[in-house]
Symmetry: C2
Subunit: 352 residues, 2 copies
């Protein structure tokens, strides 16, 4: 589909490694959670999953932070667990408990009942929302598409809910490695199709979230997470990819060698360490502590400036080190965004 | 108090860096959870907290794994949250939810209502249990005492329960750093008194558990966790100390410089990395993935041998990388323990 050219393409130029006039900024979970305008839309629908599946409303909340907060990118409002649902394993989002799967996967028979997702049949609502967003944005900022990493999706499908230990999912890796690989393969294939559909309808960048990478021992991350992320990175050639593997500190070197343009960094990782183990031609994204936005404005400005100094002037997309927490005030988010814009622009102009 | 000399002092000799005939082994959470014999004792009492406060019964479940599993150390059955309780902030252990504090700390007034724990008044039950354990063990193996690290205790006192993000506790570090330090100081002083009481009644080693170290950005770990652990390490001169800071991968170098004899390593940390950043005169403890015990016996043996090879023959106490999971079969735990004993003894005899 022909797209209008971007008025603000700072994110894309930064990903390509160009020297830019300032550092681009957006926030994980910027669509949803923190904005009263989001909660107003959400209140009209019966639940979170219903909002995800409603392209008009999903598009509306995707665009809100661009208007209200002034971020340099939109990220499509969706959920990583649409993939299991499209594979035949539906879920509910239960208030104060998180996602719950009535059925889970523990045997070959369970896997035989699943299928590789057919996007146009089972998951058309996200690409559809993307079309509407692109029209609404009209080239103001780029749109980020996303999916969960296969290991993280696997973890929910086997565990059946969030968990402190994901011990059922990790037990399956030890007890049934072949079965585990079969399921991971099906998730990977579904994810590639899903990301390609998002790109076909207008996603300018895609991000892979390995939210539960950090629960694996390094050797399991190498065996059961990294190869499937790598398959995705190799299959997606149309747009730049960002890989964010939360908690995978011990594997940052290998992550830095993936065929991706950008590596997301969590707030537990020292910026200097990330820069030292990841190839300098990659862009880094992150990594202010999400809890830092609880501080007063002066402190937020100070911490944000310190982060910008540590990343340096190029190959950096400012973000938090994880999704913004639901009870953070939009004013504090705006302070973070404005500080990134002003401080990085000032620094560049002095360097010129 | 005069103690009988130890028949099995492998743990203590290993901590001192002596060359020993084999690698000592014990498991975090070995007392409780996994043994049917534990559940039988627990069923006679109304709750977890009641068991913690009952010296006779706490002693009984402390000794069980020595008899039943053949570990090289006992660890006193207790809970890290006895410290807040003794400081004036009681809690309940709620089935399937974990600890819940009816009152929490969020202001100076809340702190003013607390006190530094008076062990003989408020926390006599643990030292009392230690006396009974020492009598029961009669020198068979050493006894490990323990306490939570000040940051982890702080996190529960402010948050009021377990949490995926501990965002209230982390918000306090940003918003009220001075108040935070005051509370951390009171926890530290209480903890030093508590550990000294445990040692006076017979603990041969003490371990500090910083279970929530990994949720802090490295700079906050350095400011709000490490200095208080260091105060404890400096105050406890009677017996060797083990520091286990789960998830503090980015700060492992600083942890290795603490005035402690042993550093605990979680399962997300590569053994070679830990050896390379921690001084070779320290003993390392860990770090098999707790989920590895879900595997079959052959796989457990293989993973355990691989871990022993990676740590090398000395300065190593075999353990899991976190507490044993509640649904692990005792047979699988025994397979781990027996493999450590046999394989490490065989390796040493070949080296001689």
């Amino acid at each position: 589909m022909k797209q209008p050219s971007l008025k603000n393409d700072l994110l894309l130029r930064t990903i390509r490694g160009e020297k830019t006039e300032r550092t681009p900024v957006w926030l994980m979970r910027q669509a949803g959670r923190i904005l009263p305008e989001y909660r107003a839309v959400r209140a009209k629908l019966s639940g979170f999953v219903e909002l995800v599946k409603n392209p008009e409303r999903a598009a509306e909340v995707t665009i809100q932070p661009v208007d209200i907060l002034g971020v340099d990118a939109a990220i499509i409002f969706s959920d990583i667990l649409v993939i299991p649902e499209a594979m035949g394993l539906p879920y509910d989002m239960v208030e104060s408990r998180g996602p719950v799967f009535p059925r889970t996967v523990s045997s070959q028979a369970d896997i035989d009942r699943l299928k590789v997702a057919d996007i146009s049949d089972d998951l058309a609502y996200t690409p559809e929302a993307i079309k509407i967003v692109k029209k609404g944005l009209d080239g103001r900022v780029p749109l980020i598409g996303f999916a969960g990493a296969p290991w993280t999706i696997f973890a929910y499908m086997v565990e059946g809910s969030g968990s402190k230990t994901f011990s059922k999912a990790r037990a399956m890796l030890y007890r049934q490695p072949t079965l585990s690989r079969q399921l991971l393969g099906m998730i990977t294939e579904s994810t590639i199709r899903y990301l390609k559909a998002q790109i076909a309808d207008g996603a300018d960048v895609v991000q892979i979230f390995d939210s539960w990478a950090g629960i694996l021992p390094p050797v399991h991350f190498e065996q059961f997470s990294l190869p499937y992320i790598q398959q995705i990175c190799e299959a997606i050639t149309e747009v730049p990819i960002t890989v964010f593997a939360k908690g995978a500190y011990a594997n940052l070197t290998e992550i830095g060698q993936l065929n991706c343009a950008t590596v997301g960094i969590d707030w537990n990782t020292e910026i200097s360490h990330a820069r030292s183990v990841i190839s300098p031609d990659k862009t880094l994204q992150g990594n202010l502590d999400p809890a830092a936005l609880y501080a007063d404005f002066d402190q937020i400005r100070q911490d944000t400036r310190q982060m910008l100094d540590a990343f340096g002037s190029h190959h950096h997309i400012a973000n938090l080190g994880h999704g913004v927490y639901p009870d953070i005030s939009p004013d504090h988010v705006r302070c973070f965004i404005d500080t990134v814009k002003e401080y990085s622009a000032n620094k560049r102009s002095k360097l010129l």
